[in-house]
């Protein structure tokens, strides 16, 4: 691993991939775009947001819920902006409204749950989504939804409480449904792999970091 940073990360190319491995739980997961470019996000890239998120996240289930909340903030802001920026019409316009509503509900539910568990919800960061037009939106949306699925799948086995696990499961299934619908809009396969890869927390945070303004 190099400490090299990416001046202009290939944002849309950050895709989750997985090796066919017999051991599903240890599927080798990579961030294809960044690695293919011959560069990885180094420690120097860990900006103030990620540091703060980790510091505030707390341990255990609250930590995982705060990690999830960070991703839901990102998705929620992304679809909120997309209502005007994606230049969508017809079915896609409806889909953006629907998915955005779901992400908002996830933010609300995660925030409440963290509070009720005695934790402190992380604050919503400011985001910057570098895309233009419908095609640019769809490409980034697919990356976010697929990454979201992998993030929840990666974090869930560490959840202690059965209820929190069930709640995370009910959210990840909805993220998977979003991913499939966005992929169909993109003209790609809704379920490209028989097993959705899981992504460790650190890699997810690095993947979303470029979108934090």
């Amino acid at each position: 691993m190099s400490d090299q940073t990416l001046a202009q990360p290939e944002l849309a190319a950050v895709q989750v991939d997985v090796n066919d491995s017999e051991d599903l739980s240890r599927g080798e997961v990579i961030l294809k775009g960044a690695l293919a470019a011959g560069a990885v996000y180094g420690a120097a890239m860990v900006g103030p947001f990620v540091g703060r998120a980790l510091a505030m996240a707390g341990g255990g289930d609250v930590g995982i819920l705060n990690f999830a909340l960070t991703l839901e903030y990102l998705e929620s802001a992304f679809y909120r902006e997309a209502k005007t920026r994606a230049k969508a019409s017809g079915d896609l316009k409806k889909l953006i409204a629907l998915v955005g509503r779901d992400e908002d509900e996830h933010v609300g539910a995660l925030t409440e749950t963290i509070k009720k568990l005695g934790g402190r919800p992380v604050a919503e960061p400011k985001f910057d989504f570098p895309y233009s037009g419908t095609a640019g939106f769809l490409k980034l949306a697919q990356t976010f939804e697929d990454t979201g699925v992998s993030a929840y799948n990666g974090a869930a086995p560490q959840i202690k409480s059965a209820e929190v696990l069930e709640a995370a499961g009910s959210i990840v299934q909805v993220e998977a449904r979003h991913a499939a619908a966005i992929r169909l809009q993109n003209g790609t396969e809704p379920a490209p792999l028989a097993f959705d890869p899981s992504l460790p927390k650190a890699k997810v945070l690095k993947a979303v970091e470029p979108f934090i303004a």
Partner: protein, 221 residues
């Protein structure tokens, strides 16, 4: 169960998206939101907790003990899905991109079957046998409706078992399949013009008893 009953019950569910959704709603059990509320438990109201937290049973005991039972239950459902897609692909009801989608989904279900079989063996268990199945394949529309029913139910079935799974690697495997079932369900719902998220922002789980009852009409031996 008599063949006539089976066909009529199935036809009703398959042909009617409302009863299909109703079926899913009925089998849903506790909602995720309720689970979120239960997660706090600060008022100590144990009646709000779900079965798993209350030490309840997964309902898969007849398939084996603990995680092996859950894996064998999942394996039975995956066998059913695989057989369904095989029959559909052979039915001649679909061609072009729809047929490709059916073949792709079917091949993914077959991969789930082999992974789950391997997992059960690895844990020292005996894999559940493939059930003998029969599906009504009358029209493209009714078959897509049935496919969506099965996939939505399959996703709910995995979600319903997640809190009962003990082993982290079993849970990771189940989750990686669960979200694929969710993708299949959403794609089929899209083809049908139905909502991709019939339960809203939080997918509902389904318990083993309800799931098994729902698929019973397809199992003939």
């Amino acid at each position: 169960m008599a063949v006539a009953n089976r066909e009529s019950a199935l036809a009703r569910v398959a042909a009617d998206p409302v009863s299909r959704r109703k079926l899913l709603a009925v089998t849903g059990g506790s909602t995720a939101l309720a689970a979120f509320l239960a997660a706090c438990g600060s008022d100590g109201d144990s009646t709000m907790t779900t079965g798993a937290a209350a030490g309840g049973k997964s309902g898969t005991e007849k398939f084996g003990k603990g995680d092996v039972g859950i894996l064998n239950y999942a394996l039975t459902l995956e066998y059913l899905e695989t057989a369904f897609y095989e029959d559909v692909a052979k039915s001649g009801l679909f061609r072009g991109s729809d047929l490709e989608t059916i073949r792709k989904f079917g091949s993914e279900e077959a991969e789930h079957v082999s992974a789950l079989t391997g997992f059960v063996k690895q844990m020292g268990g005996t894999p559940a046998p493939a059930p003998k199945t029969e599906f009504p394949l009358k029209s493209a529309r009714s078959v897509l409706e049935l496919a969506a029913t099965v996939e939505n139910l399959g996703a709910a079935a995995y979600l319903g078992q997640a809190p009962y799974i003990k082993g982290a690697s079993v849970l990771a495997a189940a989750l990686s399949i669960h979200s694929v079932e969710g993708r299949h369900a959403a794609a089929l719902n899209t083809l049908l013009g139905d909502s991709i998220v019939p339960d809203g922002a939080f997918a509902k789980p389904a318990g083993a008893a309800e799931v098994l009852k729902s698929v019973e009409p397809f199992i003939v031996g």
